[in-house]
Amino acid sequence: MTAEQERVYLASQWQLMWWKFRKHRLAVISAVLIFVIYAMAAFAEFLAPYHYSTRNTDFIRAPGQQVRLFHEGAFIGPFVYPFKLHLNMENLKREYAEDRERPEKLRFFCRGDGYSFWGLVPGNLHLVCPPEGGTFFWLGSDRLGRDMLSRILYGGRISLSIGLIGVSISFVLGVIIGGIAGYYGGRVDLVVQRIIEIVQSLPHIPLWLALASIMPPSWSPVVVYFGITVILGLMDWTGLARSVRSKLLSLREEDYVVAAQLMGARPRRIIALHLVPGFMSHLIASATITIPRTILGETALSFLGLGLRPPITSWGVMLNEAQNINVVALYPWLLYPVIPVIVIILAFNFLGDGLRDAADPYR
């Protein structure tokens, strides 16, 4: 027996899955990407050239400034050309032109806008800062002259955390409740079904509206939003519960379930170890498609006057601000937050694929 074989034969089931997962290149890349994006959100203060609320009222709705390396053919390191603002009073538009004469060098590891890292540690060190006296709007600026890049970085923090809490809640609930109904069947199922019906027919929108009106206004928007996501999570499990239930209803007739019962396994164990894994693919798939929904869920909420509000920043808020014909027609760079959303969603999905395959015994 070779060492390699030895290793395989002694490995635990988790190790085996991990090895399988590692072979799925796209999934690994996705996992890394997700990690990087989370890390970026975590270190937004340091990575962002500006504070998310720093306004520069002289550069409102400026398009992105390109980072360049060569000025008049000569390499001078990363720099930007400053913008010249021209107020077009005819159609009331701010027009920006690059001033090709004066390259302004970007600064790195520099002191810039002050921040308090994670609300705890004050600091002002940034990875990149705008040139001395100049501006650096790599992805453009918004209607108050805030840097899009910085806002996207900060925005990821909320989008990638609070939103996912809702998913997790609804997931856990869906699997548990659906699992119980599906496993026990009969009367338990009947009761659960009725509960599902009720919850399902409780319309979400009025509930949101109602919640919005009863949330104490003294709560900070983040807390309110958090509350809403939690409640949404508490409402949103029914679909999953129903699919779990129906799948389990047929799975529980399998002999291996009977076998587990005869061994004296508790229902919890049977559901978790025997039944749910048989349903893993679906769970993973629906988790990965729920994530974008929650990241974007805010936009729907904000539409109804709920959800996060400025000055709190999240991708949803930014997209919400961009939902406006003016932006689509005139300031398309305000739509950039779509990109991280797409990237993170793709990454989660491919990661999901990898996980699925890793757990798939047949591969």
Binding site: K93, A212, P217, R309, I325, N326, A329
Partner: protein, 646 residues
């Protein structure tokens, strides 16, 4: 120029009745009426009398030339976009047909009325135009006034609260007399200066109703059985509800309800598109005798308000102001290069487009006392960099001003407009220090006497992003003087409720709704008179309910305002009223009960290039003038035929 006082109000008792003013040619020269081809079929078929028989004997002649407009021709369909069914009432505003109206010089002139007389400020004689008909052809007579006064306003079922406020003077209703078939008189014991403005208001007090039509729904006039059948058919509770439902003149929901407006609704609720057709009996004609309106139809398409700029840019509207905001201008302007419309910029006529309203009735005693300290309010005001706001949001095109009368108003006082509006953080700091808010915490935020930080939420009703943006700008200004604010928007009614309950410390809202004030207009916005005044809701409630609810105003200045207001209500001459107005404006400007930030902001208006007579510059406000109403959309006409029209 020509901001003369409305003549009617200068009138001594003996003076002749007020006749149509400058815009109208003398009645004697009434030209022969010209009908729109729109009705040619119906007239030919005998379904409609010829136009000569349809207009009043003395129509109101609009002299386009003297208004600086061109006489036009009959044709076309003005397409409007609206966001909500309730916007139906926009047609009542755009039509702006009232017994008396404000003309282009803000003078009150008769419109539906042929003339009116005011004696001693308390006896009002109104004369109708003989031969004037409702849109269904039934005559408009003093019976319609009687019907309203006796069968509606004083009917317990229809008006459980009695006649509207404008018909009370010193708490007393008028004596109503029918002088003749075309003449009625209302007389009070005391002067009633709000009577005529109420009739001319954008949302007028209607003192007449199409009695011929409405009788069928009235308990006193209809046959019991028929009424019962109708109640059943309409699934309403009783005749009162039925009458109420069918008699809404302000919101033309009922196509059958006769109207006097230039266009009448032909589409019942609910609908996505309402088609208004010209009123065959409309009483205005142009100098050539063409019966107005020029446009045969108006269609109002209901859609999502957020899409209206986009739709307007796609050329789907011929005349669009509503739901178009300043920040849509660039987009529309660019689109106008491709499309057949132009974008004009009018001015909005609020006292302040954006104002901060410290709640003098906040329940938290510390905050309340602070809000009531004029030094604090002044500090807030001078802490604000209005130039910044103007530059960032309005391209520097708006006016930095306090919440007071606009330059276009006869009561404008530049000194008041610029009082306490300079950006002076030093002064602000000094004022705050004077109050004793000298202690600061590590963040540089001042501390209240009880040790809390001087930080509070400024609430908005979330009407638009501009509000939040402005607040975002102000945030830094305030931080510079040691005040920390948190903008927060909530739903409109929640917002309102919280303010009235005193839970809100400061709110952001518009300033005076009407800043194009004349002495004849009621100065109610300047004194505590209503719960809806977010700077002193409870005081307003107190006055509004005659002391039954709310709190008695406790600031001397507020009490002075109340006193002045009451004085105005009893005033007889314009001179008196002007003086009162000026005093009230001054007190408001000095006391800064409302802290105006910016006014005269611009309002884009999308106008089809084919549509003539739409002024290039205008003042856009609900009151006075009913948005477009004062500019008489019935005089707008299409230069050429539109595609797809027969």
């Amino acid at each position: 120029a020509g901001l003369g006082l409305p003549r009617a109000l200068r009138a001594a008792p003996e003076q002749p009745p007020v006749q149509p003013s400058s815009a109208q040619a003398p009645a004697a020269q009434t030209p022969a009426a010209i009908d729109s081809p729109f009705f040619a079929d119906r007239v030919a078929a005998g379904a409609l009398p010829p136009v000569g028989d349809r207009i009043p004997d003395v129509p109101r002649v609009i002299d386009m030339a003297s208004l600086g407009r061109k006489a036009g021709r009959h044709r076309g369909n003005i397409r409007l976009l609206m966001g909500d069914q309730r916007d139906l009432r926009m047609m009542t505003l755009y039509g702006y047909t009232r017994l008396v109206v404000y003309d282009d010089k803000l003078e009150l002139v008769p419109d539906v009325l042929e003339s009116f007389n005011v004696d001693e400020g308390r006896i009002f004689t109104l004369r109708l135009r003989p031969g004037h008909c409702w849109s269904d052809g039934s005559p408009l007579t003093s019976e319609d006034f009687r019907y309203w006064w006796e069968d509606v306003a004083n009917n317990k079922r229809l008006s459980p609260g009695g006649p509207p406020q404008a018909l009370f003077s010193a708490g007393e209703p008028p004596v109503f007399e029918i002088v003749s078939e075309t003449e009625v008189r209302y007389s009070w014991k005391a002067p009633n200066p709000i009577f005529l403005p109420a009739l001319a208001a954008a949302q007028p007090t209607y003192i007449f109703m199409p009695s011929q039509y409405l009788r069928q729904f009235h308990e006193r006039h209809a046959l019991k059985q028929e009424l019962a059948a109708k109640i059943k058919e309409n699934r309403v509770r009783d005749w009162g509800a039925l009458h109420e439902r069918n008699s809404r003149m302000y919101r033309p929901e009922n196509p059958k309800l006769p109207t006097l407006e230039p266009w009448r609704n032909t589409t019942p609720l609910p609908a996505e598109q309402f088609v208004f057709e010209r009123n065959a009996y409309f009483h205005r004609i142009d100098e050539n005798g063409r019966q107005l309106p020029y446009a045969d139809e108006v269609t109002m398409t209901i859609g999502t308000s957020a899409l209206i700029p986009a739709k307007a840019a796609a050329g789907e509207a011929d005349l669009q102001v509503r739901y178009i905001r300043f920040d849509n201008y660039t987009f529309l302007k660019e689109a106008s290069k491709r499309m057949n419309f132009e974008v004009k910029l009018w001015k909005r006529a609020e006292g302040a487009y954006f104002a901060l309203l410290p709640n003098l009735n906040a329940i938290d005693p510390v905050w309340r006392d602070l809000n009531r300290d004029v030094r604090y309010r002044r500090a807030i005001s001078v802490a604000i960099s209005r130039t910044d706001v103007n530059k960032v949001i309005f391209f520097g095109l708006a006016r930095e001003s306090g919440n007071t009368a606009l330059p276009e108003s006869p009561l404008y006082d530049p000194a008041l407009a610029s009082l306490w509006i300079q950006h002076d953080p030093g002064l602000a700091n000094q004022l705050l220090d004077e109050i004793g808010l000298t202690k600061r915490d590590d963040d540089g935020v001042r501390l209240l006497p009880d040790g809390r930080r001087l930080e509070f939420t400024i609430e908005t009703a979330g009407e638009n992003t501009e509000e939040t943006d402005i607040l975002d700008l102000l945030k830094q200004n305030f931080l510079d003087v040691g005040i920390k604010i948190y903008p927060r928007s909530s739903q409109r009614d929640v917002f309102r409720r919280r303010i009235v309950a005193g839970q809100t410390i400061m709110s952001a809202w518009a300033g005076m709704d009407n800043a194009l004030v004349t002495p004849e207009m009621e100065p109610d916005a300047l004194a505590p008179t209503s719960t809806a005044q977010f700077q002193w809701p409870r005081w307003g409630q107190f006055i509004e309910t005659n002391g039954r609810e709310g709190e008695r105003p406790s600031l001397p200045e507020a009490n002075e305002l109340v006193r002045l207001y009451n004085e105005w209500r009893m005033s007889v001459t314009t001179a008196q009223r002007r003086e009162i107005w000026q005093k009230m404006l001054r007190i408001n400007a000095e006391q800064l009960f409302t802290i105006g930030v910016i006014n005269s902001t611009l309002q884009p208006i999308v106008v089809s290039r084919d549509l003539n007579n739409v002024p290039d510059h205008g003042l856009y406000s609900f009151e006075p003038g009913a948005f477009l109403g004062r500019y008489m959309p019935d005089t707008f006409w299409f230069r050429r035929k539109k595609d797809g029209e027969g």
